[in-house]
């Protein structure tokens, strides 16, 4: 197994790449290797983002770049049994399950499979050589490596991830779930890369979960490119349930063709430092993007959501809604940038970010940013930061409900709205339950954390009428 241990500075990473170039490129086709060289050059120009960059003003990577991490350039020889390590909160939910363990795609039979209906799914690394035409056409085409140092770094180093191709006119009813697990007794630096391609009139629901099992320091710098063909639709759910010693960076790129639809929903339940960037290019008329997010953070956690929606052509629509509850000393950032190009008439764009701060030391920075170059458009935005309504709290408590449960009911009412946006009933119920568990401090991550002990056991209040 090829590996190295180092503190990830810019120079160190560049020489690390040179040292392991052969291993990193071992599954490449020429265009991938070319991209790597180009991306490494970009990274050597930009380096890691610092707070001097406007978009990084409120998030600092300094502490995340202090420890030494292990880098692996070949898969682990010992392949564990997926079922014994898999503990995702939404398991048993009907999905086709794919797993990534410590950055490497896990498979039982073959690394990449072509199904009867033409769908291809599996390891990206295996797909390089198996489907070079698709790779050449799509890989690295929307991921922005010139300005985004982290995407550049990922492009240079990434060796594995998930690859999904849905051909024209194929509708996949059953959601595909990808679980990215970190389970290792040492600090690890991972750079997963995913590529999702939807042909014309196709449909896919994709659930991406970031989970950790061991609680060592980790740094995940992931990048996903999503191509949504004409009249196709993608539902992209991202669940983040990481321990407090993890740094998670996700750069998600979406390109929407004519009359296509995207629903993206990012749910952050736990993590140390989380930075999610979503770039949505509405490049075909009639395309529509709905970008939702929920973050529930406490202790010293930090979550930063950056959304960039680009209305490139006329008649496109976007709707953004992010909500967050910030407890203890945690902090949150929301930056919503809507860009409307010069000729993108009849654009409709809406953006909303609502936050509840539970303590005096919790912080949030929210910044809507509308950049409009067309004159016949409808754009609006709104942001709120507040506390739980004292009138509502008094009302609930006057009926005998304790302070903790009264707050729980109000927090759940606030957060639950994002779960109602989930189209698949089963998934919606699971996530709803997860929100409740998280608010009660009962998620597995919380269970194992010594810092966050459960005092006063709350009384159950959920009662689901549909189940009676």
């Amino acid at each position: 197994m090829k590996s190295a241990n180092l503190v990830p500075g810019k120079e160190q990473l560049i020489s690390l790449f040179e040292q392991f170039r052969e291993d990193i490129c071992s599954n490449d086709i020429p265009c991938i290797s070319e991209l790597r060289t180009k991306a490494l050059k970009s990274f050597s120009a930009t380096g890691f983002p610092t707070r001097e960059i406007e978009e990084w003003k409120n998030t600092s990577l300094i502490n995340s770049l202090v420890p030494a991490y292990n880098f692996y350039f070949s898969p682990f020889e010992k392949k564990p049994d997926i079922d014994t390590i898999f503990r995702c909160e939404i398991h048993n939910f009907e999905t086709d399950l794919f797993t990534q363990l410590n950055g490497w795609y896990l498979y039982k039979q073959s690394p990449v499979t072509r199904f009867e209906n033409g769908v291809i799914a599996g390891s990206l690394s295996a797909a390089f050589k198996a489907y070079p035409e698709l790779i050449k056409k799509y890989y690295g085409k929307i991921a922005e490596t010139e300005k985004n140092g982290l995407t550049a770094l990922n492009t240079a180093f990434a060796q594995d991830g998930i690859f999904i191709y849905v051909p024209d006119n194929v509708v996949i009813e059953k959601p595909i779930q990808m679980v990215n697990i970190v389970d290792i007794d040492e600090s690890i630096f991972l750079q997963p890369r995913n590529l999702i391609i939807l042909g014309k009139n196709s449909k896919l629901t994709f659930v991406y979960c970031d989970d950790s099992i061991k609680h060592e320091t980790s740094f995940i710098n992931s990048c996903t490119e999503n191509f949504i063909g004409e009249n196709a639709s993608l539902d992209f759910y991202k669940m983040q349930n990481k321990d407090s010693r993890s740094t998670v960076i996700t750069n998600n790129y979406f390109k929407l063709e004519k009359n296509s639809n995207l629903i993206s929903n990012t749910l952050t339940f736990n993590g140390g430092l989380i930075r999610n960037e979503s770039y949505v290019s509405l490049s075909g008329s009639g395309s529509d993007a709905k970008v939702y997010g929920l973050y529930l953070v406490d202790r010293e956690q930090h979550v930063d959501n950056q959304i960039y929606v680009d209305h490139m052509v006329p008649e496109t629509t976007s709707y953004e809604q992010f909500k967050g509850i910030i407890d203890d000393n945690a902090s949150a950032v929301f930056n919503g940038h809507i860009h409307v190009c010069r000729d993108a008439q009849h654009t409709e764009a809406y953006q909303s970010n609502k936050n509840i701060l539970l303590t005096d030391t919790a912080r949030v920075t929210t910044k809507p940013f509308l950049e409009i170059y067309a004159d016949d458009v409808k754009c609006s935005h709104g942001a709120t930061v507040g506390q739980l309504d004292p009138e509502a709290l008094f009302y609930l408590k006057s009926r005998g409900i304790c302070d903790r449960n009264a707050k729980m009911l109000l927090m759940y009412a606030f957060a639950g709205e994002i779960a109602t946006k989930i189209n698949i009933g089963v998934l919606r119920e699971r996530i709803d339950a997860m929100i409740v568990k998280r608010l009660k401090g009962e998620l597995s991550i919380c269970d194992q954390c010594v810092l966050h002990c459960k005092e006063n056991e709350a009384i159950n209040f959920e009662i689901d009428l549909s189940k009676i």
Binding site: S398, G400, C402, I459, F461
Partner: protein, 253 residues
Amino acid sequence: MDPLLEIKNLKVSINNKKIIKGLDLVVNAGEVHAIMGPNGTGKSTLASVIAGRDVFTVTEGEILFKGKDLLGIPVETRSREGIFLGFQYPVEIPGVSMTNFMKTAVDEHRKYKGLPSLSAPEFLKLMEEKKKMVEIQSNLTNRSVNEGFSGGEKKRNEIFQMAMLEPTLAILDETDSGLDIDALKVVANGVNKLRRKDNAFVVITHYQRLLDYIVPDFVHVLFEGRIVKSGTKELALELESKGYEWIKQELEK
């Protein structure tokens, strides 16, 4: 036996403004008291202070409930001990369903009494029973607490919650305001069905109208932070015909 509620020389202020200026009241089990009086004389303040709202400061006096000092006890404990406040302006709480709300409340009351939580079917049966009792037909219980309810629905919902929690002392703060005569009857019927020998009601109202349906044992007139006149139900009729000016003039004599 101790009276259910005993208020002695109560003085209450908010932001240094005196609102209740020495009030005495005794309510025994089985009684219905009406408190009347013009606007801004401290009726709602009295109700809020008994329920435990902390924006008010009690500067003097005491409130005893079943012989125990009530001041300093948190609002939720007062509720579990048997005090219920019917709000003049029930709060809308989007996203919290009536079912979750009431299930939580009922379970916390039961826990306080050392009883196990109700199962979901048991709870739903109880809700249906009480809905019938207060003549709620709609499935208001699936909706968010008071959200989008009409004025009448909100007041009915207060009576419904009272029926669910079966308090020993219910204070209804202008539950009749804004109700048409049919809704008023429904609310009054609900109260009458819940009247027992071991509980009591304090009904705060502007108008005699409600007292045609909820017949009080005692009527008190609250004026400038004090109870200035007490009597039986006839006093309410007298107030209705003579107006509050009459009380003012009597006081000036």
